[in-house]
Structures are given as C-alpha cells and as structure tokens.
Symmetry: C2
Subunit: 290 residues, 2 copies
C-alpha cells in the first residue's frame, strides 16, 4: 500500500497530462485504483483492506469486472468476458485480511487452483471495501436502497433508518427477498407483527453496530447480512420472547451488499471510460435441504 | 473461578460425608458444579468460559435445566418447570464472554428484563462449554452422533469423520435435517453429488479447525454449525466451482450441538439424583421468508 499511496501524489501533480499519457499507453490496474482514490471523496486511510490481493498492479487493463466477492466462479466469468481487473468488495482468499501463507504452507489445492487461474489469465484482484463504505453517501447502502426502491422512506438524518408503509414482518421479508433476488432469507420474530421502522445494516457490521442502531433508532426490524447466532440473533430472539416489538432479518452477506457493487460499477464508469467496466454478480451460495 | 477451584479440593477431601451433608441441607448450585468438575474426567482449565453467568452460586437447587442456549424463552420454561439451575452450552448475554457492562451502560431493556427474570426467580446460570467438549469422547459430538444414528459409521481414529452409505448430497442434507429436527438447513455444493465421507464439526469451531479437518480427512462433505460467508463458505463454494468433490452443510449453531446437551442431561443424572435434572431444548431461531 505504501507504494500506491506515494504514487497518488504524483498522479495528482501530473493532472490531465498524466491521464492522457495513461490513455495513450493503456490504463494499468494501478492507474484505475489511483483514479478511484482521487474520486472517492474521502482521505485514503491506512491500515485498510482496500489493497491488491493478487496479480501485478502494472498490468494493462483490458476490462474491469466489479463484484461483491471474487469467488472462483466470478473470476472464470470475468476472464471469459475479457476482464482482467477484478474489483471485489469482499475477500478473495477466505479471510478478512486475505492471508495466504497458511494455504501455501498446507499446499492447499483450492487456493492453489485459484492462484493459478489468476496467474494464467493475468488477472489483478483489488479489494474495495472500507472506502466504498466511507464514501458519502455509503456506496453499498446507496445501491441497496435503490434496488429495494426505498429511497422515499429513508431518514434524512439517519441514512440506515427507513419508515416503510406498514405491513407484516412476513410481507416485509418477502419484499426484500424479491427485490434483492435472494434465495434463502432467514427471519427471527413474529411473522404477523406489523412493522414500519426498519434499520438496514448490510454485510457483517458486527453486534456493537447493531446495538448502536437498535438503541439510537428503535426499529421494529433490523435487517442485516449475517452475524453469529449467539450475538445479535440471540438478542433479538430474547427481545421477541420478552414480548417486545422487535425482529431480525438475515439477508445473507452477499445478497445484502451485492446491489452496492452494482452501483459501484456505474460510479466507476463516470471516470473510467477507456475500457469496458461491467458488473459480475457473485452467486448466492446456499440452497435449502428438503 | 478461583473460589470454585479452591473449594473443589475441600469437596474431594470431604468425600461421601460431604455429599451426605449436602443432601441433608439441599444441594447448592456450587455443589452441582463441583460434582461436574469432579466427574468430567479432565483437569479444570483456566481461563475458561465455563463459569457462573448470573445468580448466586450458593442458591439451593430445586431442579436443573440443561440447555443448548439460555435464551429468555428457555429461562421462562425452566422456571415454570421448577428448575432454578440452568446449565447452558452457549452464552446467556449475547457474546462469547457474556460481558454485560455495555448493556448496563446503555440501560438496555432486553438485557435488563432477562436479568430481572433471573433475579426474581432466583435462577443461577452456569455455562458448560469448554470442558464438555474436552470430555473424552467430546460430549457434544457424542450426543449429536447418537441422534444422527451414525455410531456405526464413525472413524475409530478420527471421531469427527464418518463414512456413511453412499447417497446424494441432497439426501444426506435431508437425513441430517430430519434426524436433528432442523427447520432451516443451508447447503453449498452440487445437490446430485454422491457422498460418503462426512466430517462433522458442530457449533462454530472456526475456519482453522475446518481447514484442519479438510486437509487431514478429505471429506466429501463438511457439516458445521455456522461460519462467516467469507471464510469456509467461500472456500467450499470455490472448491465446488473448481470441480472438486466437496460440499458444505450449515446445520445452524443451535441444531448442530443441541443433541450434545440432551446427552449431557443424561450424563448429569448419573451423579446428581437429589433433584430433578431435565433437558430444556432451545428453539431454533429461524423461519424462512416466502
């Protein structure tokens, strides 16, 4: 990251002349990331997980695939479509910090095949997580709200709070499932309960963040990506058992943030037009046993 | 815990005379825990989460409720049944270490009502997690295997590995769902894939443990309680996309370990017979949106 940060200054100093030089020679992955850093609207923070995870940043970009999670399936589809820069919201190598030493040590075949595919197709994978959330408004939330068609219900002061037309919890869950295109959506609480205040916390923002939203905004429903069962899930189950007007919707991590990366694709196109920029959705992982 | 550990010695020195004295006066919660410590068959390890979480350890026990998770619903049912010592495998207060300071500071109503119910009903809650897993054989695994009726398929050298009669992944998932009484069981992998080697890791044993099982035992299917999507879930999805013969079954945390606490109830009855000892199952949290 130090290297990338140092070159931002040079890029900014170079201005439009630098941009022209890049166009003439072809954009590198590094050029694209520098443009993102210049456009994201917040100072670049370190440490951050928004770093290159695989491939050579000096690679000339043939096409950009924006995705929620750089799964093997996403990489295959991106490469087949002629993309070689993959911008992923979530990890590539199975942990928040994408540490690969353990897999290397174990000669792990799954990891090795993914690395090999990346190498053979000259792919570059870069993560765009922290700063897309830090973008104002939060890039993930913005995309998700648009796909939910909930813009009119969004609080002006607390963007994660929505006051939707009153409906049952079961109907709200079905609406979110339909609009976000979710296969498996789990719910905790009374299905018949009437709800109108919804706090939306896509991804895995953690029990402390969930508690903050619950205490500050008093929603009827907290809708999140995922959390361990013994944390917010047990808490809301208890609230419900105590007779409180509270429920939890677990959208799943990928479906809860995916639309935010579709929006990121459009945002990226506003300042990268030399190469194709496309959204390659990650598939939801789960099916249900009968 | 220091206090409890110190008194174990006294209890053991006192021998059967001590046991008689307890019977005459009525067993305290502390007496019961000391008996568990004396019978569990492994040295008591510290630090451990196996500590009192609420109530007064000197309380005379009227009945013991053994459960997977001391939810509010479980406490209400236990108290209604005349139990005042609750032995829970999982946390009571929404985090692995059951820290309550944050809830107290926030005047959290859900936590406060649970605390109040415990106080008003003179309940004592004690966690039995680490040492029930350390019991040989692992108390949780033993109970789950019995409920799955998989004893004949269990590896003699690696107790978490099972070689079941060949069937499809979809059929295996349905069998586990039926036998463990699960409502929502999620699966990753090809439903039509033929499977026979199954690694069973109930609860949330973590991605490092999952990796160890995968590398050591090469199962077709890893069946776990829960894990974040970007860890073992993405890994198995990648393995499947790479064409490997690997799948993941997510049983849910509570259903994946619950039978292990049913077995704990029976084990406890072998050395606690002065009071009623009963299994109070925690309800599965989830229902599915349509």
């Amino acid at each position: 990251m130090v290297c990338v940060l140092r070159t931002i200054g040079l890029f900014l100093l170079a201005g439009s002349a630098g941009a022209f030089a890049q166009t003439a020679q072809g954009l590198t992955a590094n050029d694209v990331i520098q443009r993102i850093q210049a456009h994201v609207g917040v100072p670049w923070r370190t440490p951050t997980v928004d770093t290159f995870k695989a491939g050579d940043p000096a690679t000339r970009v043939t096409g950009i695939a924006v995705t929620m999670m750089a799964t093997y399936d996403v990489l295959v589809r991106a490469a087949a479509s002629g993309d070689n820069l993959i911008i992923s919201h979530e990890p590539t190598f199975y942990s928040h910090l994408d540490k690969t030493a353990g897999f290397e040590q174990q000669h792990d075949a799954v990891w090795a095949q993914k690395e090999q595919f990346i190498r053979e197709h000259h792919l570059v994978v870069w993560r765009f997580h922290d700063h897309w959330h830090m973008h104002r408004p939060d890039g993930i939330l913005t995309g998700v709200v648009r796909t939910l068609k909930w813009q009119a219900y969004q609080s002006q002061t607390e963007p994660s709070l929505f006051v939707v037309p009153e409906m049952t919890l079961a109907d709200l869950a079905s609406q979110m499932k339909d609009r976000l295109g979710i296969n498996v959506l789990r719910v905790v609480g009374d299905p018949a309960m009437k709800v109108t205040r919804v706090s939306l916390a896509p991804g895995a923002s953690g029990p402390e963040h969930h508690q903050m939203l619950l205490h500050r905004d008093h929603p009827d429903v907290l809708a999140i990506g995922e959390v361990p069962e013994w944390e917010t899930i047990e808490y809301i189950a208890d609230a419900s058992a105590e007779g409180r007007h509270e429920a939890l919707i677990l959208l799943g991590h990928i479906p809860s943030e995916q639309a935010g990366m579709e929006y990121c694709t459009e945002w990226l196109k506003t300042f990268v037009n030399e190469v194709k920029v496309e959204f390659v959705p990650a598939k939801e992982f789960f099916w249900l046993a009968k």
